[in-house]
Symmetry: C2
Subunit: 360 residues, 2 copies
């Protein structure tokens, strides 16, 4: 059990807005931050005392980075495991290698979710068009064909409505790297997520469940508390805790769930083995945010409180929605976050805004 | 009226913990930060995209710094006015030159406070031992002899109890640079302060009044709300607003007050023309902290809400009090801030901790 003291250094693999918000909490707690990313000046670099700008396959750069870090964490799940193995001899990796390994592959992830009793959509592994046809036969339509690895925000997936879509879907993804997975249709009521912060001592605290609405496969807004029954909320929290426990995560992870119709409870959708967009509301909406508790956890410090201060709503600012920046700032109760990205490309997360209501 | 857009650069003169917390808010709002200070690696540098490490008398370094800044602010009041004059042609200076000019000199400050009706302790200018004797005659004892300029946290002042202390006080401070001021004794009940955030459009919001307790002349703790009558609170707020208005401040200033005994109202003690230690409670205790509203104000953005979320208490961690860091973190309701200073010297502000109570 490694414990860090203020002045020691947290190394972050990846340096986007999640890394930036992690670094903000690290600064508050007195830690130094270094970042590693293939981008030259990603959002987190503004807060880093050094930025290692190299590919995740550059072993020499990874070693140099790791040599300067007292603990290593990551802000996104698609970091090659080989990169973790390169840095592992130098410093502890948290939440941990196993978390990435499971979350990087939709097939491993779903097997794992079933094993720990968190449930998931029906699925079949697919590695040929014939297997896809068999999988459609077994799971029915509609269904979603996805790459097993490296998908996010709707990338690497295609929706099948009719038999005719099988060939189209295979054409679209059959040449994708890695094998594929077909996920059966889940007729869900809404999507919710639970963020879990788990300390080195195994003690955990949770945020949520929060209700997430997506637009074009990208999180649009999160509402806390999620409008679900107490039983349903308890089930999501218990399942998320079980996932964190089974992964032996040290730090923050997020588990997304489908809330089934007609009181059918919840089944897991996917695991994000890191701080998550659906936890941004915790910055102003709880005493200790997901970012602060991640830093506390990975440095071996005790966790802070995670209870919501009131009803909270968080909106992402995607692409040119960031043009509303000044209008939002004129709303005196809005907490506006700008990620400092220079260019508002379509689908790019540029910032977010949170409202905490004092009335219940 | 200059207005900045995210991605533009805020230049901070000084780079201590106040600059660090200003930079944290600047980062949230998407601005870049550069710092200028005589120290090599002061606390704010961790968040700066560039640090200009030079003396405040180094005109070339000041020009280089100013050339990279879109607006210039400062985190402490003892910056030579000549430095402001060097950077002034390059970017607007906020809260403004006049604020510094007044706050840097206890004599100008007291004249100003009387002029705007904020009141202050009785005082006399002193530039010889004979003038000191005459001042003691006029104001009585006890009294405090202070240097007019460059005093802070009790430095540059000495207390006079008896006639015999006159010669001792003169020996102690008579050779201090600049002239002296004798302040008469004020039999006050407690000290409170009001932080004012004032926008480019002249609209202002206030925090507090908060009750400040000192230990060895250094702020020990602040309690919000201050235990004073509504009339007294209103008087402090009105006087603080008048000060900000008369100074034409753009940004955050703080006015400290003495609450007189027996319902005698408040008189000003001093002006801090910048974010202030007695406003640290606003980080977690209000929707928009003094740091965020300072950044909003100096960049021409509208101000956020300043109402307290509940009763708040802030403790400074001075010197080796920072050794309580882990114990404090184990209190799940404590918001702990570590300034990242490597060495816990006596009297050095190492961090602070804030509690926000949800019960009134």
């Amino acid at each position: 059990m490694t414990k860090l003291s203020p002045g020691q250094t947290i190394g972050i693999l990846g340096a986007g807005q999640l890394g930036r918000m992690l670094a903000q909490s690290a600064v508050q707690l007195g830690f130094d931050v270094i970042t590693f990313a293939p981008e030259k000046r990603p959002p987190a670099v503004q807060l880093a005392s050094a930025h290692f700008n190299a590919a995740f396959t550059d072993a020499a750069a990874l070693e140099a980075f790791a040599a300067d870090a007292d603990v290593i964490t990551y802000e996104f799940e698609n970091i090659p495991l080989s990169a973790l193995d390169t840095v592992a001899p130098h410093a502890p990796i948290r939440p941990g290698r196993r978390c990435l390994e499971v979350a990087q592959d939709r097939l491993f992830e779903k097997d794992f979710l079933n094993t720990v009793g968190a449930g998931c959509a029906p699925y079949r592994s697919v590695s040929s068009q014939q297997e896809l046809e068999e999988a459609v036969e077994a799971l029915g339509l509609p269904a979603v064909l996805k790459t097993r690895r490296f998908g996010y925000d709707g990338k690497g997936q295609t929706f099948l409505r009719t038999q005719a879509d099988i060939a189209l879907a295979w054409d679209a993804l059959g040449n994708a790297p890695g094998e594929l997975i077909l996920e059966g249709f889940v007729d869900f009521e809404r999507e919710v997520s639970v963020v879990v912060a788990r300390g080195v001592n195994g003690k955990a605290r949770t945020y949520g469940p929060v209700w997430n609405e997506h637009s074009n496969h990208i999180l649009h807004r999160s509402i806390m508390p999620a409008p679900v029954s107490d039983d349903c909320a308890d089930e999501a929290i218990t399942k998320a805790l079980n996932v964190a426990e089974a992964l032996e995560a040290v730090g923050v992870i997020c588990v997304e769930f489908f809330v089934l119709k007609d009181g059918g409870g919840v089944i897991a959708n996917e695991i994000a083995p890191r701080v998550h967009n659906s936890g941004h509301w915790t910055i102003e909406g709880t005493p200790a945010s997901q970012f602060e508790n991640h830093i506390r956890a990975i440095t071996g410090l005790p966790l802070g409180l995670t209870d919501a201060l009131g009803p909270v709503e968080m909106h992402n600012l995607i692409g040119n929605e960031i043009d509303d920046y000044e209008t939002l700032l004129a709303d005196p109760s809005a907490h506006v976050h700008h990620y400092g990205k220079p260019e508002a490309r379509v689908g790019r997360k540029m910032g977010h805004v949170t409202w905490v209501r004092s009335d219940p």
